[in-house]
């Protein structure tokens, strides 16, 4: 396939979902089935185009493939901004992931959202999201990336707040949007630093400038950290992780699409794209943020009881992994994990959606509106009632836990090998692999806890349990498809070794050298990873089985009581259950002081400035105008203007007296007049 052809395909992929959005938002309600056909139709077209691009990529099998097309957007003399597309193998794989998960979400939603009051608007927003996400993926410069970045934020806001009648959903959407803004400010600062130093937004030109040394040292580190702050916000990394768990207020398919597979991965995608410009210092910062987030979120996920909250913290933790991989230089591994994680995490979310859907219907039939359909303590034993959901979720759980034969093992292994090799070169950073491996242990533990609490054991609510049914076909189909894609073979073809990530993916995505002078080359990093591969594999299989075993002994065998241990570790248990009191502390130390400051400022503004200064001007003006009015009306009008009129009237009415109407009087006057004239004449 030629490059121009690819650009046409990319245009189609970008704009079909936008068309769906425009049509649905304006006339969606009047269409048959509220227009979901249009949404699904356009997204399937997008999927077909992405598949075609993917196929051509596999056929040409060129790791160095890249094609760029751009046009001038803004031309102000020296200041010129060009927007455009960059298509390389990373773009093509991301496009396929986005359109695949988006298609699955559309199909899943037709049943999950059936009968919703804003059904067509929901599909419209899904179209808007797909458009903006594809825009991020296709961008070849930081400006259009930033534009689509914000558009993604907007669609996330709209979809989290889909059920905005609920206060919690409205608050969650606001929180998500505002928390993202905090990261985006850093992103914007980084953007401007890069533009000021290099005068261009285009990726390739930026990298060229960095390689030439036009931007280096602290400035480049700061720019890198600034740009990475955007990823911290969007990918929900510590300390801006607080919005993602709340974002679970949105419909579950939305959580699967945006808050598990694609949107939150945008931050990782950004870090992968911009990897060549990060300095070693910035990368270290990135690695620590990622590693800490991975373990930190995992420790929260252990104690959560809401099925979606567990998955949300698990997502944060997995995103931390990917960021950690970028930080240690193994960014291809991070991108690999992004793709595999998108598949199994979306599958897990659809599975949880399927369970919640079943719970919701059962509770609805019982007219029970107080029981939480998302609380795992109300579930148990669903295995026999929902076999397909169970088996697909089990596959995805095995994948996320890093069990061999599944995709998660390959990608997680690559990341852990990256951290291990990084630590062997820099022994002072031994914490990074520790973070990685312990997070893997905890992940295996809490994911199996989720499976055991939901699908095994005795049902906690027997009357609800008796009414649980498997979900309808449109909801089960995405589950089956995505769980199949969690099997290793789809990523290692044409090879069949389940213990090595060697395959088409690693052949097509080759790590590029960092453009920052003095950084370790991609070859060195790959070499180091290769050396630590065997050790990593043994360790990761060990921790995964340990986690699963622990979970099994606690929740199936009951040989270790969860209650006793939670009492014994009371302090820690409460910290984890309450998410380390992050929301409370942010509220106490950030929001409240800020609100107080805002109140103080508003006091100055309103009570002092407005009331005395601005209103004072008003009072003076009012008083002045009263005086002027008096002068004008009473003085000028009454005396001069009306006075002249009145005195004229008086003169007139006194002169009127002369006009007696008697002819003889007039003659007398005339006679007097003549006499006077004669008298004057004679002198």
């Amino acid at each position: 396939m030629t490059g121009d052809m690819l650009i046409n395909y990319a245009l189609g992929i970008l704009f079909f979902p936008l068309i769906s959005f425009i049509v649905l938002i304006f006339v969606g309600k009047r269409l048959p089935r509220q227009g979901d056909i249009i949404g699904i139709g356009t997204i399937i077209l997008t999927l077909i185009l992405s598949l075609a691009m993917f196929g051509s990529m596999l056929l040409s099998h060129d790791p160095g493939f890249r094609h760029e097309a751009s046009f001038t957007w803004m031309d102000l003399g020296d200041f010129e901004i060009r927007l455009g597309f960059l298509i390389d193998n990373i773009t093509i794989i991301m496009l396929l992931v986005v359109s695949l998960i988006s298609t699955m979400t559309h199909i899943f939603s037709t049943k999950y959202m059936e009968g919703d009051i804003r059904y067509s608007r929901y599909f419209a927003y899904l179209g808007l999201f797909t458009f903006s996400m594809n825009g991020i993926v296709l961008a070849n410069n930081l400006v259009s990336l930033y534009i689509f970045w914000e558009l993604v934020g907007v669609s996330s806001y709209l979809l989290i707040g889909h059920w905005f009648e609920k206060d919690s959903a409205a608050d969650a959407s606001k929180k998500a949007f505002l928390t993202n803004r905090v990261g985006d400010i850093g992103f914007f600062i980084g953007l401007m630093l890069v533009f000021t130093a290099l005068g261009t937004f285009n990726y390739a030109e930026v990298f060229e400038g960095v390689a030439k040394g036009a931007m280096s040292g602290t400035l480049l580190t700061l720019a890198g950290i600034g740009l990475f702050m955007g990823a911290v916000g969007k990918s929900s990394q510590f300390p801006l992780h607080i919005w993602l768990p709340d974002a679970m207020e949105g419909p579950t398919p939305v959580s699967a699409l945006m808050h598990a597979a694609t949107m939150v991965a945008a931050g990782v995608y950004l870090s992968v794209r911009l990897f060549p410009l990060f300095t070693p210092e910035a990368l270290l910062f990135i690695a620590y943020i990622g590693g800490f987030t991975a373990i930190f979120a995992a420790t929260i996920a252990i104690t959560q009881n809401d099925i979606k909250k567990v998955l949300a913290y698990s997502t944060i933790s997995q995103l931390g992994y990917m960021i950690l991989a970028v930080g240690t230089g193994a960014y291809v591994a991070g991108f690999f994990h992004l793709v595999t994680h998108a598949m199994f995490k979306a599958c897990l979310f659809y599975g949880s959606g399927s369970v919640i859907h079943a719970m919701h219907h059962a509770l609805h039939n019982l007219k029970d509106h107080d029981t939480d359909p998302q609380d795992m303590r109300n579930m148990g034993g669903f295995k026999s009632k929902m076999p397909i959901t169970y088996w697909t979720m089990l596959v995805a759980t095995l994948a996320i836990s890093g069990v061999p034969l599944f995709s998660g093992f390959l990608s997680k292994d690559a990341i852990l090998a990256g951290t291990l090799s990084f630590a062997s070169h820099h022994p002072q950073h031994f914490l990074l692999p520790v973070f990685g491996f312990s997070a893997a242990l905890i992940t295996a533990f809490y994911m199996f806890r989720l499976i055991f609490m939901t699908f095994h054991n005795q049902p906690k609510l027997p009357n609800v349990y008796s009414d649980i049914h498997e979900s309808p076909k449109p909801m089960v189909f995405p589950l089956i498809l995505l769980s199949s894609l969690s099997v290793f073979i789809f990523y290692t073809l044409p090879y069949f070794n389940p213990l090595s990530d060697h395959g088409w993916f690693m052949e097509l995505i080759k790590a590029k050298d960092s453009m920052v002078p003095g950084s370790p080359s991609a070859h060195d990093i790959a070499e180091g990873m290769h050396h630590s591969h065997t050790l990593t594999m043994i360790l990761s299989i060990l921790v995964a089985s340990l986690g699963i075993l622990l979970s099994w002994s606690v929740y199936i065998k009951n040989s270790v009581s969860a209650d006793t241990w939670s009492k014994r570790l009371d302090l820690y248990y409460n910290l984890s259950l309450n998410k380390y009191y992050f929301d409370e502390n942010y509220n106490k130390y950030l929001y409240q002081p800020f609100l107080r400051l805002a109140n103080r400022v508003s006091y100055i503004d309103w009570d002092l400035y407005d009331k005395y200064f601005i209103n004072g001007f008003g009072h003076i003006t009012k008083w002045l105008s009263i005086v002027t009015g008096r002068t004008d009306y009473d003085g000028l009008d009454q005396t001069i203007v009306d006075g002249i009129g009145r005195s004229m009237g008086k003169v007139g009415s006194s002169l009127k007296e002369i006009q007696t109407g008697r002819l003889q009087n007039y003659m007398l006057f005339a006679l007097f007049g003549v006499i006077i004239i004669i008298i004057f004449q004679s002198f």
Binding site: R662, M667, L668, L671
Partner: protein
């Protein structure tokens, strides 16, 4: 008595009498009579100036015209006075003031 002065005195007396009658009398017919006196005083002036002023007969001719005019005027004015009398039952000109506001 054969000089211009005498005629002018007579004419002035006649004019003053006529003017006095026009101004003071309330009776419409008396006012008309005053007007006739004024006209005739003018006639005397015309004729006197024509006789002593060394002119040809244009003064006399003008006097004739004035007499004719006076006749016409008297006819019109008497008609008005008759109409006033028919409407108001009086010939007092002070009472004929319907047009005054």
């Amino acid at each position: 008595m054969d000089n211009l002065q005498t005629y002018l005195y007579i004419s002035a007396i006649l004019f003053s009498l006529g003017l006095y009658g026009v101004i003071t009398r309330r009776n419409g017919i008396a006012v008309l009579m005053g007007v006739e006196l004024i006209l005739n005083s003018a006639n005397i002036n015309f004729v006197a100036f024509a006789r002593f002023g060394g002119m040809n007969f244009s003064g006399q001719v003008f006097a004739l015209f004035v007499i004719i005019m006076a006749a016409a005027e008297a006819a019109v004015a008497l008609a008005i006075i008759i109409n006033v009398f028919n409407n108001l039952d009086t010939v007092n000109i002070d009472d004929a003031r319907e047009l005054k506001l």
